[in-house]
Every structure is written in structure tokens, then in C-alpha cells.
């Protein structure tokens, strides 16, 4: 029985090889060939030299967004995890609910709020104040990222904090820890898996986004996602786009790898679960 049931994952493995590994191979192929002649070339990858400032900006904006998400998300997850079960379910549902509405429209709603002729500035000018430059800067892009990906931080954190054995907390209290020490020595270390998967789930989509920066950013805050998208959708150069995607992918694997190294958490099962 045990040995046979291994084969149950056969279709899945086949599927993933066909539609995950092979496509990545195709990306590699495009990245290493010339767009016109189709010959082997490294010039697409060498183009990285021109785009590293954009890579850097994308990474830093998403690091800030991820940190803000963590700072906002942890107290919220902690609060939810310590509510009554019925309330917990309700709050968890309320966190998930915004994710069901198209994130394009939610971002557009932020545009409507922040624009020079938007809701907030209309209100400010109507009470006699001067309008604020709320949109088309790095801050607005970070706000958009935090808003869109905050649930992805709260949910894994909540799952992990909820599962912490309360007896451990009690034991620490019995041994004379005050509440701050309990938090630092018990709750925080035990929620590391949740923090790790939360960071991954926010950082990865944030670093590759293109819609948020298109709508909330300015021409000066272009992100790497925008560049990749434009290679596939406007300027026909899939080879350059593939090369940049490849670099982005490697960079993310390195970032996630570094983080996992420091936490050495085996996060096989702490990823997103409801």
C-alpha cells in the first residue's frame, strides 16, 4: 500500500515537469539566443548592466513594503489569534474578503483617492487647505504594495501564532518571565516559520509587480516588472524579456535562500494554509 501510493503523485509530477520545469527551460533558451538570428548569445544577459538601477529600486521598494507589512501584520495576526474562536473565524474571513475583489480595481480605487484631483485632495482643497502630492512617488508605490499584499502576511502569521501551544507560554510565565520576555523568548521564536512564509509571500509578488507602479508611480519609479512586461507586450523583444525574467528569478531565489539560511526553518508546511 505505502509503496504503491507513491505513484498517486505521478500525474502531478508529470504535470509540473511539463508546465513548470520545461517552460523555465524555454525561458533559458530565449534568454540565451539572439532575437533576430536565433544564435547563441550572452548579450541579452549582458543587458543586465543597463538595468541594475531598476532591479535595485524594485528590490528596495519591496523590502520596505515587506517590512511595513510585517510591522503592521504581526500585531494584527497576534490579536486575531488571541480572540474567541468564533470571532477568529470572522476576522480571518474579513482579511480574505478583499483578496476576492480584482486587485486592479482596488489599486484604481487608491488612484481615485490619491490623485491631484482625487478624493483626499478634493476634500483638502474644499476646506481651504492646499493639495498634497500624494501620488506618483515611491511612497505611493509602497502604499499600493502594502495594501495589496498585507493579507498574504497576516494569514500565515495568524496560522502559526494560533498553533503555538499555550502551555509553553504558561510554563515561561511560571518560570518567572514577564510578558515582554514571554514574547521575546517564546512567541516570537515560535512564529518564525510564519514570518518567513509571510515575507516570501509579500516580497515575491511585490518585487515583480508592474500594475501598481504603472498606476501609482511616476515615469521615474518604473520597476523591473514594467520593463519585462513592455518587452512582451509593446516592444517585441521576448529574448530580452526572458533574460530579465531569468535574472529576476535568480535574484529572488538568492534572497529567499539567504533568509531561509538565517532562520533555518523547514517551511514545508508553514506556507499558506487556511
Amino acid at each position: 500500500m505505502k509503496n504503491k501510493s507513491k505513484w498517486l503523485s505521478g500525474p502531478y509530477v508529470l504535470w509540473m515537469v511539463l508546465f513548470t520545469l520545461i517552460p523555465l527551460g524555454v525561458v533559458l533558451y530565449y534568454a540565451l539566443t539572439d532575437s533576430v538570428t536565433g544564435e547563441f548569445t550572452l548579450s541579452n544577459l549582458a543587458n543586465f548592466a543597463n538595468y541594475w538601477p531598476i532591479f535595485l529600486r524594485s528590490i528596495w521598494l519591496s523590502i520596505f513594503a515587506t517590512l511595513i507589512c510585517l510591522l503592521i501584520g504581526y500585531p494584527v495576526a497576534y490579536y486575531i489569534a488571541h480572540c474567541k474562536p468564533a470571532l477568529q473565524r470572522l476576522l480571518q474571513m474579513l482579511i480574505m474578503l478583499p483578496m476576492c475583489i480584482s486587485f486592479l480595481l482596488r489599486t484604481l480605487a487608491w488612484v481615485a483617492l490619491l490623485e491631484d484631483t482625487g478624493i483626499i485632495n478634493n476634500f483638502l482643497t474644499s476646506i481651504g487647505l492646499s493639495a498634497l502630492p500624494l501620488i506618483r512617488n515611491n511612497g505611493a508605490v509602497i502604499l499600493g504594495m502594502v495594501y495589496n499584499y498585507l493579507p498574504y502576511m497576516i494569514l500565515p502569521l495568524y496560522t502559526v501564532i494560533m498553533k503555538i501551544d499555550h502551555r509553553l507560554v504558561e510554563a515561561a510565565q511560571d518560570l518567572g518571565c514577564n510578558s515582554r520576555q514571554v514574547f521575546a523568548k517564546v512567541t516570537l521564536p515560535l512564529s518564525v516559520p510564519g514570518i518567513v512564509s509571510g515575507i516570501t509571500m509579500v516580497f515575491v509578488p511585490a518585487v515583480s509587480t508592474f500594475y501598481i507602479s504603472q498606476k501609482l508611480g511616476s515615469p521615474g519609479t518604473i520597476l523591473i516588472g514594467d520593463v519585462i512586461e513592455s518587452q512582451f507586450k509593446a516592444a517585441y523583444n521576448p529574448n530580452l524579456g526572458a533574460a530579465l525574467s531569468l535574472v529576476l528569478m535568480v535574484l529572488i531565489f538568492v534572497c529567499v535562500g539567504i533568509m531561509n539560511h538565517f532562520t533555518d526553518s523547514d517551511d514545508e508546511e508553514s506556507m499558506v494554509t487556511l
Partner: protein, 275 residues
């Protein structure tokens, strides 16, 4: 401390719901400018139901979401069972493969699939590769890890003796699976399916790269709408979707709550019988 935290949590919830309020208010707006409320009207809703195109796109989205989450749930649950019985290097290899779509940026997944399909198109010498099937394949692919990662913990929490007991009591392995294992991991399967459904319904980035001319989902169309002056009936549509999902979630919540109390009662009864 807890009071401070409560206020903070409330503020975060307000932050999360501000855009929804903006959209909902805009759906009752007479004017087209989202930032200026020029009068209350239901016209946008009337417009919405007159627009067959928009409704059929919503239909496309739901069809893809239902089919992809169903296929992903079946295939993913089987895979989770298989992985559960694996050990050592094989297991970690398969788990790494599962994590690729999770750690890979959506844009790279979308791009890689688009390139694959274009490649296949060149091989088959056809120009009509992109469409319903490519969209479905892409959605199944990014849904699979969500199902697996939701089912796996339930499997490892399950008591292996349960299956043994069922086998001892004369069940065939297949019966034992359907009567015991499936029952035990059902919450994981359900949450996986729900997650997959949500992800698929809201997916824009990957769909954007793999849609062709014939079959378009709602988010992709919304993207092209947001470049033109957006028609307020779109707000009306999303207000309705929001309310529908809210109601669905409340119903499911109530169902779950009732289920739990029932189970507790049954549990109590068992204990008494045991005594």
C-alpha cells in the same frame, strides 16, 4: 496593551476596506468621475445587466476558476497522498518542485508559459494555440501548490493507526481511504480548493500573458478598461461580487460553526457510551 492592539487592528481593517467603500460609493454615482459624487442613482446596475459582454466575461472567469480548482484539487490531493508516503531525497525533490511556482514571481511564470505555448505553436505550425485550454492549463498549474500545501499538514496530523484500524475491521484499502483518510483530510482539501478558486478568479498577471483572441477572463479585460475612462458599471459589478462573496462566506462560516457544535456533541456522546 491589548486595548492598543484592538484599536490598531481596527485601523488596519479600515485601511483594508477603504477602497471597497470607494468602489461601492462610485457604483451609485451619477457622474463618471470617481472622485466627485454628483448624485445617487441605480443606473450603473441597469447598465451592467444590459451589458452581455461584461457578464459573459464574468462567466468565463468563473468557468475557468471552477474547472481549474476542481482539477487542481483532485490532482493535488492525489499528489499530497503520494508525497506523504515518500521519504528522503525523492520527497524533498518533489517538495522543491512544488515550491517553484510559489517562490517564482507571477510575471516569470506567466512569461515562461507564454513562451512555451508560443514554442508549441511554432512546432505545430498553428496560430491558434492561445485560448481556453492554455488558460486552463496555466490556472491549474499555479493552483496545484496551494492545494498540496493545504492538504499536506492535515495528512501529517492524521493518526496512521486509523487506516490500520479500518483495514483490520475488514475494509479494503480503497474503502479505508474513502471512509477514513478522506474524511480526516477533508478540511485541508476544502480550504485548498477554496484558495485555488479565489486565486484563479482574481488572477490577472498570468492570464494576461496566456490569453489569446477568443477567450478572455474578467481581470484581463478590466486591465484594458483601466486604460480608457472606466465605465462605472464595472464598479457596480464588483460591488455585487463583493456582496455575493460576503454572503457566501457568512453562510460557510455558519455551516462550519454548526458542524463544529454537532461534532462536539457527537464527541461527548461517544465518551458517554465509552464509559
Amino acid at each position: 496593551m491589548r486595548k492598543v492592539n484592538r484599536v490598531f487592528t481596527a485601523l488596519v481593517f479600515i485601511f483594508l476596506y477603504i477602497p471597497m467603500i470607494v468602489l461601492a460609493v462610485a457604483s451609485f454615482n451619477k457622474g463618471t468621475d470617481i472622485a466627485v459624487f454628483s448624485g445617487f442613482t441605480f443606473d450603473q446596475y441597469k447598465e451592467l445587466f444590459r451589458d452581455k459582454h461584461l457578464l459573459s466575461l464574468l462567466g468565463n472567469s468563473v468557468i475557468i476558476a471552477v474547472l481549474s480548482s476542481l482539477v487542481a484539487t483532485v490532482m493535488g490531493t492525489a499528489a499530497a497522498l503520494g508525497i506523504h508516503s515518500m521519504r528522503g531525497r525523492l520527497r524533498s525533490a518533489v517538495m522543491t518542485m512544488t515550491n517553484i511556482p510559489m517562490t517564482n514571481p507571477e510575471i516569470v511564470t506567466g512569461v515562461s508559459m507564454a513562451l512555451l505555448f508560443a514554442f508549441v505553436g511554432i512546432l505545430l505550425r498553428t496560430n491558434a494555440v492561445l485560448g481556453f485550454w492554455t488558460l486552463l492549463i496555466a490556472h491549474i498549474t499555479f493552483n496545484l501548490p496551494y492545494v498540496i500545501l493545504n492538504v499536506m499538514p492535515k495528512l501529517s496530523q492524521m493518526d496512521p493507526d486509523l487506516t490500520e484500524a479500518a483495514l483490520d475491521l475488514g475494509c479494503t484499502p480503497v474503502q479505508a481511504f474513502f471512509k477514513v483518510v478522506l474524511h480526516e483530510i477533508m478540511p485541508g482539501i476544502l480550504s485548498g480548493a477554496l484558495m485555488a478558486f479565489t486565486m484563479s478568479l482574481d488572477d490577472f498577471v498570468i492570464s494576461y500573458f496566456v490569453t489569446g483572441s477568443g477567450f478572455v477572463t474578467l481581470p484581463v479585460e478590466i486591465y484594458s478598461y483601466t486604460k480608457k475612462p472606466i465605465q462605472p458599471k464595472v464598479y457596480a459589478m464588483f460591488t455585487l461580487i463583493f456582496i455575493t462573496i460576503l454572503l457566501l462566506m457568512v453562510v460557510m462560516n455558519l455551516m462550519q460553526a454548526r458542524d463544529k457544535t454537532k461534532r462536539k456533541k457527537a464527541h461527548g456522546l461517544q465518551k458517554e457510551v465509552g464509559r
